[in-house]
């Protein structure tokens, strides 16, 4: 399993989409391609924007299908971060 501690990369307010994209393309996606599980540890991340979470995971859902969520563990998300992740995963399942 690949473990990623987000706080040291994105700070306590996760809004930088460039960093989200970099994490997705350079670490998360290559790990998933190899069949690894990924743990995204949000400890210390107080809030995130929908844009950040979208840039982090939407393409993975598009690429691998919604079952990819079985391979990603969102660890220690506070209420706000959890709800934003749920909004993004929900609308990705509603897409055309």
């Amino acid at each position: 399993m690949i473990k990623i501690e987000l706080l040291s990369i994105v700070g306590s307010f996760a809004e930088n989409k460039d960093k989200a994209k970099e994490l997705r393309t350079k670490i998360i996606n290559p790990a998933l391609k190899k069949g690894d599980f990924v743990e995204l540890d949000f400890t210390g991340v107080n809030s995130a924007t929908q844009s950040f979470i979208h840039a982090l995971i939407s393409q993975l859902i598009r690429q691998y299908g919604i079952d990819v969520l079985d391979k990603i563990n969102f660890k220690n998300c506070n209420n706000t971060v959890q709800k934003i992740i749920e909004i993004v995963t929900d609308y990705m399942q509603f897409r055309e």
Binding site: F13, T49, S51, H54, V88, Y91, E96
Partner: protein, 280 residues
């Protein structure tokens, strides 16, 4: 917001061609402190004692890239003395973060985002203005959608799931088309004032009274609003938002409301697209 607009307009003019008439109003010191003259490359000729701005305002600031944005968002909250109040800081960081991000990604503005903010003690409100001199909403949105005029472009941009980067529901890898809808919704739930102006059009979300029930709308035309379609052309986009700190709702509660209306909206759009076969 108006100060940010003046700064954005003046930024492209040779300072030698800008003439500042002497004025006696007490507000002249305010313009000096918020950094307007400095921003325009002019010497105001004023000599004032600069007090620490923290807790009162954020001077005119230019943000051109992600690094500057992250730095600004970190420094902004202590400046407004809101460090220990996440209920109030979350929506402010969220709104400023998403609006500045929009400018950096979509506006093609040479100077990036120009913003400033002011805290008003009496009403316990923060007023924020974020302005750019880029291509504007209509040019961005019509890359993927039809918009006959600037107001139609604003209407589309404020709807959930509509982005200039694709026609597809769910957006692209990097854009979902939800940013402005989230911001309008945050303003609505918190009974805040929100205004967006681009090209010749303006949409203004009117403040709700405390007795009015919260009812989020996916279509901005269903919000209590005022609009203008023939304003002087603004090259780029202007956003003004007043955040009444006493009215601020828990951010997680607000997200529940946004989630509900987001999916109602997607379902409605699907229904509109649904066609039955004709049998004769």
């Amino acid at each position: 917001m108006v100060i940010a607009m003046v700064a954005a307009l003046g930024k492209n003019i040779n300072p030698e061609k800008i003439k500042i008439e002497s004025f006696e109003a007490r507000s002249k010191h305010y313009f000096e402190r918020i950094g307007l003259f400095k921003f325009l490359g002019k010497d105001s000729g004023m000599s004032i004692t600069a007090h620490d701005p923290s807790g009162r305002f954020i001077p005119l600031t230019k943000i051109k890239n992600s690094t500057q944005q992250t730095k600004f968002l970190t420094e902004m909250i202590p400046l407004l003395h809101l460090v220990d109040n996440p209920k109030q800081t979350e929506p402010i960081q969220y709104i400023v973060g998403e609006l500045v991000r929009n400018v950096i990604e979509h506006s093609q503005a040479k100077d990036g985002a120009i913003l400033c903010a002011q805290y008003y003690k009496k009403s316990n409100t923060i007023r924020i203005g974020i302005v750019d001199g880029g291509i504007g909403i209509r040019k961005t949105i019509t890359k993927s959608h039809l918009a006959a005029d600037d107001f139609e472009a604003l209407r589309l941009a404020l709807m959930p799931g509509i982005t200039g980067t694709t026609r597809k529901e769910g957006g692209t890898a990097d854009n979902a088309g939800a940013g402005l809808f989230f911001i309008k919704s945050i303003a609505h739930v918190n009974r805040d004032f929100f205004l967006i102006y681009s090209g010749t059009a303006m949409f203004k979300l009117l403040k709700r009274s405390p007795s009015e029930e919260i009812s989020l709308q996916s279509k901005p035309i269903n919000d209590r609003h005022s609009k203008q379609k023939a304003l002087p052309y603004w090259n780029g986009t202007v956003v003004g938002i007043d955040i009444a700190l006493d009215e601020t709702q828990e951010f997680s509660v607000l997200l529940d409301l946004i989630r509900d209306i987001y999916f109602t909206s997607i379902r409605e759009r699907r229904k509109e697209k649904y066609r039955k076969p004709k049998f004769t």
